[in-house]
Amino acid sequence: MAEEQTLSPGDAAQAGEQQCIFCHIAAGRVAAKKVYEDDKVACVLDINPANPGHVLIVPKQHYVIMPQIPEDVLQHIGMVAKGVSHAQLRALKAQGTNIFVANGVSAGQRAQHFMMHVIPRMEGDQIAFAMPERAMNAADVKKAQQVLKKALAKAMGLKVADEPESHDEEQTPHEEKKTAEKKKEAVTEKPSPKETAKKQQPAKQGANLDDIARLLGGR
């Protein structure tokens, strides 16, 4: 196949898709051991399995990272994962399954196409998905809870207005203490003007996601 060496920036994204092996696999243009397929996903055996029967759930549409995937597709992937897990337990007599997503380079994502792993497990198979348990002090928990609650509501497109201290940013004497607390928080997390903006327009995806996608593309 003779491909052009120079690409206009507009073509670059498309070229990425054309070169994506998982797009080819999902579309059936590259041979793979497909165990399930529907209009949204293809499930194939990983050629480098952690265990025999390791399945990759690959969306047919090209998504680099998870945040790009629409809600309905992601829900579908989840439901298919349950089905695949069930099939592994029954057909392969697996004793357990791991459902695993590496979302971003630092999470171990290698391919430039989102996929979900479903790995059949047997006792003593030496695969390490054990999570260490670390103690957290109460102050950190509280702080993380505050920050994450807000960010999660934003990510879900919910209103953040029910926060008790979020009514006014102006510093009146009796509110001084609250604002000071808030400032402390703001220093570690993000500048407070941004927070005000966030309250006014909730459901908007941050630009950070593009950065993460770029990070992945850079490798």
């Binding site: 989840g78 971003g104 171990g108 390490a128 670390r134 809870q145």
Partner: protein
């Protein structure tokens, strides 16, 4: 037998989000900073016991949690992990979806040693799994939704609409 996770759901300790099907909480003993649990409210020991649409929602919300984590905790990635069954490392008696914020050199390693299988072994597995995977597809959709939120006005409106359509049908000679 009582379930520690069901108790946690009720106590809402470290609660970040709650709806009819699930709670999202900070993991009591986090593996990484900002480790979050998505817990189905209805007790289910393993994944297979959770209704399909709830699982769909759990994974969708896991994505939203990841987005929130990217934007606030300076995480560069997340792992979404379900340890389903004791052999898979499940330590609780209640199925949980984990979201683990990841940073470079955070000491966590989920890389696995790959196994080499012969073409024959792969083909045998393919056949076995393919056969069982035929059962995938009849997903339990979220039919409870209209039932769950039966706001009298909405129900009435829906009925009116149906009646209207029926009336329209009757009109056709």
């Amino acid at each position: 037998m009582s379930c520690a996770i069901c108790d946690l759901v009720k106590a809402k300790q470290g609660l970040l989000f709650e709806d009819e099907q699930m709670v999202i909480v900070l993991a009591p003993k986090p593996a990484t900073a900002g480790h979050i649990w998505l817990v189905p409210k209805q007790h289910a020991a393993i994944l297979e016991q959770i209704p399909d649409f709830v699982i769909g929602k759990l994974f969708d919300k896991a994505n939203k949690v990841s987005i929130a984590v990217f934007e606030t905790l300076g995480a560069e990635g997340t792992n979404i992990l379900v340890n389903n069954g004791i052999a898979a490392g499940q330590t609780t008696n209640h199925c949980i979806v984990n979201v683990l914020p990841r940073r470079e050199n955070d000491g966590l390693n989920f890389q696995w040693q790959t196994k080499q299988l012969s073409e024959e072994e792969m083909s045998t597995i393919e056949l076995k799994l393919k056969d069982e995977c035929k059962n995938i597809g009849a997903f339990e959709k979220e039919k409870p939704k209209p039932k769950e939120a039966p706001k009298p006005e909405e129900v009435k409106a829906a009925q009116d609409e149906v009646n209207y359509l029926i009336e329209q049908l009757k009109r056709i000679p």
